[in-house]
């Protein structure tokens, strides 16, 4: 059964013609790990914010449709209920800092404290988030003196401390160096299996490591939804999104007629090594 459902959702920003989301319907189950891909300006962030219930306030309303969690549309939730159910981490980590914390640990405690949880519970959550995001060494630092990558990890730690059912991450690894990114992906994979994670990205590598289901959002519509290889081979996806370096290399070899018939284009380095060895053998080397 779906945990969260987007039903026939259409949205445009005030004063613009173009629908950013045009009758989108999609559902996510408990524990799903999903990557949402879209071109720059393709509605990724807008979709992420709708999913997290952050847009249907004030003047920004859907032209039609709803997002429902547990069958209840976002405007019917209180802010506190929603914050405990879904957490969104945006692209600019410095903008997510509360400004009310002098240390990293206090920043992580800010959300749970606002839910009026008992202090031992807040402390336990802070310790857990620090560990998951590998921030123990930085716990006493001033959040505003952290590097961009460190702030990104802090934003995610603060979100996790709310123990949400759904975590929506907008380009979560874009500020991370490879070691931090791989560690982060590992930690994300180790999160409670029941947590639903939706990652909106333009970088393929973290998506391939994190998600079993890919969505491709294009001109307001979801034009592909399924296994990573199927979505990534969609022509519009290739045109806008490019290929991984490995897939590009294999495609170049294929374009020049030197790729075995029926051998799929590999997406990752590991798959590439296997495929190029197969191609090598087929070519008699």
């Amino acid at each position: 059964m779906a945990l969260i459902e987007v039903e026939d959702l259409s949205f445009r920003y005030p004063g613009t013609e173009q629908l950013v989301l045009d009758r989108i319907s999609v559902a996510f189950a408990e524990g799903e790990r999903v990557a949402v891909l879209a071109a720059n300006g393709g509605g990724k962030t807008t979709f992420a914010r709708w999913l997290a219930g952050l847009l249907p306030e004030g003047i920004l309303r859907a032209e039609r449709g709803h997002v429902r969690m547990h069958g209840r549309s976002w405007p019917d939730w209180t802010a506190a209920e929603r914050a405990a159910a879904v957490q969104y981490v945006g692209q600019v980590p410095s903008q997510q800092l509360s400004g009310a914390a002098f240390t990293v640990a206090e920043e992580i405690a800010f959300g749970p404290s606002n839910l009026a949880l008992p202090i031992p519970e807040v402390r336990a959550r802070v310790a857990e988030s620090l560990a998951i995001c590998n921030l123990e060494q930085l716990a006493k630092r001033d959040p505003f003196t952290l590097s961009g990558g460190e702030q990104q990890r802090l934003s995610i730690a603060a979100a996790l401390a709310m123990r949400p059912r759904i975590l929506v991450l907008d380009e979560p690894t874009s500020n991370l160096d490879p070691a931090s990114r791989d560690a982060f992906i590992e930690q994300l994979a180790a999160l409670p299996a029941a947590l639903t994670v939706v990652v909106c990205e333009v970088a393929l590598r973290p998506c391939l490591a994190l998600a079993q289901r890919f969505l491709f959002l294009h001109e307001g519509h979801i034009i592909a939804d399924g296994a990573p290889a199927d979505v990534l081979s969609h022509p519009a996806c290739v045109a806008i999104f490019g290929m991984t370096g490995v897939a590009r290399a294999a495609a170049d070899v294929r374009e020049r007629g030197c790729w075995p018939l029926g051998l799929e284009l590999p997406l990752t380095l590991e798959a590439g090594l296997r495929s190029f060895r197969t191609a090598e053998r087929a070519l008699g080397r």
Binding site: G41, Q91, G245, G257, C258, L269, A279, L283
Partner: protein, 277 residues
């Protein structure tokens, strides 16, 4: 290398934020006119701090940074800005005009451009960044990638001889990346010196001629891009991963290649160019 040959020179620079531990302890390198250099290293290695030392927003605690012979610590930032333009990581922090075209016009106007010369400069820049169709829009109504191009345009429009880019490729899809790389290629061809802080090693492999890696407050590597990526000690110390085409070429015992197309050509040559289809 004599510092007189360099447009930019960093000599024995140390830096720490007030009350913090040292970010840079001993950094020295020189940059010649027209070079395209990637600055790489782990999160917190001091890459963005180094950029702020290069453009004079920060002054070294020890050592000296000179831009076209002027010491940054003795030169007002607005004078340095004629020599060096910076595009920061978060474009929303450097954009403040209500229209895209006004944002682009701001820098050249400060340099004294007016009338048709100014208009031509703005139009040319809008065209280069691909945003002529949103010239009258509010920058903050644009998507994040377009906003980054506005920030880039506002700096390009001043035609600085040295261009500093902090993670310019971040969050760009393939089409936007192509545009960014075309701009870097054009700038390099026109003799602009480009230094880019960058985590995307495919981007570094495609566009940088030289890599300066920071680790533990020092320069861990400073060499041509291929030499950098093919030295496992250097890449390990710098905390970077090697581009996939290089990993492929090494695993298959082919000559080292940095880009997918170079790898494909090398693979086909190795396989004798025999066609299978």
């Amino acid at each position: 290398m004599r510092s007189g040959d360099n447009v930019l020179s960093v000599d024995g620079v140390a830096f720490a934020y007030p009350g913090g531990s040292p970010v840079l302890t001993e950094v020295s390198f020189g940059v010649r006119s027209g070079e395209v250099i990637a600055i790489v290293g782990r999160n917190g290695a001091g890459k963005s701090t180094l950029l702020r030392l290069l453009n004079g927003l920060l002054s070294p605690l020890r050592g000296r940074v000179t831009v076209n012979g002027k010491a940054t610590s003795e030169t007002p930032v607005h004078i340095l800005a004629r020599h060096i333009g910076t595009v920061f990581q978060a474009p929303e922090q450097q954009i403040f005009n209500a229209k895209v075209e006004a944002e682009i016009a701001f820098g050249p106007r400060r340099l004294g451009l007016t009338g048709s010369v100014l208009r031509a400069r703005v139009a040319e820049t809008l065209d280069r960044i691909g945003l002529a169709h949103v010239a009258g829009r509010h920058p903050l109504d644009l998507d994040a990638a377009a906003l980054r191009f506005v920030a880039l345009g506002s700096v390009l429009a001043m035609k600085p001889p040295i261009l500093l880019l902090d993670e310019p490729q971040r969050g760009l899809d393939a089409l936007s990346l192509e545009r960014l790389e075309a701009i870097i290629v054009q700038e390099a061809a026109a003799g602009t010196t480009v230094l880019a802080v960058c985590h995307d090693m495919d981007f570094v492999a495609r566009r940088a001629r030289r890599v300066v890696a920071l680790a533990a407050g020092e320069v861990a590597a400073d060499c041509p891009t291929l030499a950098f990526f093919t030295d496992p000690d250097l890449t390990r110390k710098s905390g970077v991963e090697i581009p996939d085409p290089l990993a492929l070429s090494q695993s298959l015992d082919l000559p080292p290649t940095l880009t997918p197309s170079a790898f494909a050509a090398s693979f086909i040559a190795h396989a004798g160019g025999k066609r299978t289809a």
